[in-house]
């Protein structure tokens, strides 16, 4: 089952990356223009999120009624429900970083395919950010 799980991860990741490309989310200026509601606003990203959401709301409802996923024993779905300071402060820091350069984690990785320095630096510093969080919260 491990082999199937790994192949499924690679293929769904690939499909996700193609989707980020088609949605033009690997172009950071597309993201910055979406966030620039007072300037050169581009509503496209709302359509990306909308289409992804309609699909996931509908599909997740059906999928989570199954007893178990195909290649694993259980659904590993987050159980936390509380809206606390870490959630809101973390989301704020993430949003500021998103607005500064126009990359969130998925497009940061997919944009590595462009072969320029920006995504490489973004991904490396993001990993440093993960590590800083790890070091400061334990």
């Amino acid at each position: 089952m491990i082999a199937q799980r790994n192949i499924a991860a690679l293929l769904t990741g690939t499909l996700f990356g193609v989707g980020l490309g088609v949605a033009q989310m690997i172009d950071p200026n597309k993201i910055l223009n979406f966030l620039d509601i007072a300037g050169t606003w581009d509503a496209s990203l709302m359509f990306v999120l909308g289409a992804a959401l309609v699909t996931s709301i509908f599909a997740f409802k059906i999928i989570l009624k199954q007893k178990a996923p195909h290649f694993a024993d259980v659904f590993a779905v987050p159980t936390q429900k509380n809206i606390d300071r870490s959630l809101l402060f973390g989301a704020t820091l993430f949003g500021v970083g998103w607005g500064v350069a126009g990359y969130c984690p998925g497009p940061g990785f997919a944009a590595l395919a462009l072969g320029s320095w920006e995504p490489i630096i973004f991904v490396l510093t993001m990993i440093v950010g993960f590590a800083l969080h790890r070091l400061t919260t334990r």
């Binding site: 799980r5 996700f16 620039d36 350069a101």
Partner: protein
């Protein structure tokens, strides 16, 4: 309105939604990129690390496939200060780890599960992103 591309946006969103649904259906996992990538670093078993690295590698492969299918459709940005990109990376890494998710985990999958926690996170990072771009472009007049 600037470079509005509703059709490719809908198509890209549909593909992203299908991918996230397949990952949940097949592997029982949430397609939250920050969580998957962060978990790949600190995973305690080989199996747990393997699928995470493969999913992230797939994102890059997907980027290559898109660029091969549509050559020149997206150009790499040039001239943007790289130190700003690095500062953004730090904030995104620390922030998504602290806030347990990013655009995909909270925005697509969390809202897909109708989670109020993810709704709060999504509204927060959207607001923070909008305010940041406003300050950068219209107050500090950083036009890059």
């Amino acid at each position: 309105m600037n470079n509005f591309t509703p059709w490719t946006a809908l198509m890209g969103g549909l593909i992203i939604g299908i991918s996230a649904s397949l990952l949940l259906w097949l592997n029982g996992r949430i397609a939250g990129i920050s969580g998957i990538a962060n978990g790949a670093i600190w995973a305690t078993t080989v199996d747990d690390r393997a699928w995470r690295i493969l999913f992230v590698a797939g994102l890059v492969v997907g980027g290559f496939i898109y660029l091969a299918l549509f050559p020149g459709a997206i150009q790499a940005r040039s001239g943007y200060p790289l130190w700003l990109v690095g500062a953004a990376g730090l904030l995104v890494g620390f922030g998504t780890a602290l806030g347990s998710g990013c655009t995909s985990g909270h925005g697509v999958c969390g809202l897909g599960r109708l989670s109020l926690r993810s709704l709060a996170a999504t509204l927060t990072f959207l607001a923070a992103g909008i305010i940041t771009v406003y300050v950068m472009r219209h107050v500090l007049a950083v036009n890059l």
